[in-house]
Assembly symmetry: none
DNA sequence: TGGAATCTTGATGAAATCTTGATACCCCCG
DNA sequence: CGGGGGTATCAAGATTTCATCAAGATTCCA
């Protein structure tokens, strides 16, 4: 899941709109809004929200219809909020494809808890498509598993070494200036400590290169910075 | 989904038990029953129900605890039915891993509709990958039975030890940060109590490693966190 | 209610990592 | 040939992070 999940609120009453916007953004969610069904249907494909909160009583079209239209192409979790509490309303909405149904008035805590359930479902439905793995020659870097191997052998890196390598991996093929590397690894105030770079680059080479004096992966661009080759 | 989906009902009141059994089997569902929490926990791993309906008010243990135990190894949809309608009860159950929460008395139609939602989720989730048993070297962890053996010998773990190990097992091979582990085991508010981790990781090593000073399963990633090796 | 198991917490030495200074290197240019 | 800027390497503290022991609290269960 993204660090900041996005919620699309389709709701026409301004007070409730405002209330939801405030509550959810305070929780750190990214909030999008639509006041009409057609607007919501238009926003959803481009905005790709992680969850949709949908009021059944919209001015232009029925919420059940909105649900059905969304389900034609998307599996995004839909939480209904509605003033109608009759069984047949709930059944209709749930069978149209909604995932949950809250009757107004509802408590904030419950809404948030049910949202967390929806997010769990969303991230379970989108299994990670495998970790992004960088590979060149015998060097292999799996950033998300924090794993580095050279010719199949696992290499242990210290936190700073790993951070430095991961900046290089994310910009493989490009030259990174001393200044850029220092900022990324040691923070914005360390711009001049070029010596750090020399020490750590050397340590990386000792661990990754078979001949650290003649590196094939971690190249020096004299007077500029360093570069990790992207192909061999 | 199977042609005849299976539902496990964990419910102690005989009248409601009977009512659910009749209603659901009439709908063509295959019904299993447990009157106590521990019985339900015992049936679940072998019966592999497609959905679990769980009453919070069980005689032997709290329903939230049952939920948490199930979630240690299974993603099966759990629908709570409960007489307690307070917000904090709902939040606790949903955050423990439940997927839905119905307050008694509820209407049959709504229950059936929410069951259909649960089945949709169950079939959307990834196919069962057999028993959730983790094994590497001489270490074997059966999450659903809470059994840990090392070279065939059973090992007794305390609740916290087991929770810590199960988080590591579920992410075997990956480095878990101190923060992640603390959140999973001690709850979201304990982010800084790194000392806990040291103590419990040490206890796990005492029990699982032949030489706890030179661990082969539970590795330290200094400055980052810990990792359970996924292959030897 | 008593005893056992478990959890929490503090203290201490060991290990890993980071920082820093000293020194040798290499290559280009005059 | 010699100087100088930029670079590589080594290694000794300083600092942070870890492992370990053990003594109270607390909880659990009979």
């Amino acid at each position: 899941m993204n660090p900041n999940p996005t919620i699309l609120i389709i709701e026409d009453e301004p007070p409730l709109q405002k209330f939801l916007r405030l509550t959810l953004s305070t929780q750190g969610y990214n909030v999008l809004e639509a006041a009409r069904g057609d607007d919501g249907l238009k926003q959803a494909p481009t905005a790709k929200p992680d969850v949709i909160i949908l009021d059944l009583g919209l001015p232009d079209m029925d919420g059940v219809e909105v649900t059905r239209r969304l389900r034609e192409w998307s599996a995004v979790p839909i939480i209904i909020i509605s003033a109608r509490g009759k069984e047949q309303d709930k059944v209709a909405a749930l069978d149209a494809g909604a995932d949950d149904y809250l009757t107004k008035p509802f408590s904030v805590g419950e809404l948030l808890a049910r949202l967390r359930v929806a997010f769990r479902h969303a991230s379970a439905a989108n299994p990670q498509t495998g970790d992004p793995i960088f590979q060149v020659g015998g060097l292999r870097v799996d950033l998300s598993r924090r794993e580095v191997t050279i010719d199949g052998k696992a290499i242990h890196l210290t936190p700073n070494e790993f951070r430095l390598l991961s900046v290089l991996v994310k910009n493989a093929g490009k030259v990174l200036t001393h200044r850029q590397l220092l900022r990324e690894v040691w923070g914005p105030q360390s711009n001049e400590e070029t010596h750090y770079l020399r020490v750590y680059m050397n340590q990386l080479r000792q661990k990754l290169e078979s001949d650290s004096a003649r590196p094939i992966y971690l190249l020096t661009e004299s007077g500029v910075g360093y570069r990790l080759v992207s192909e061999i």
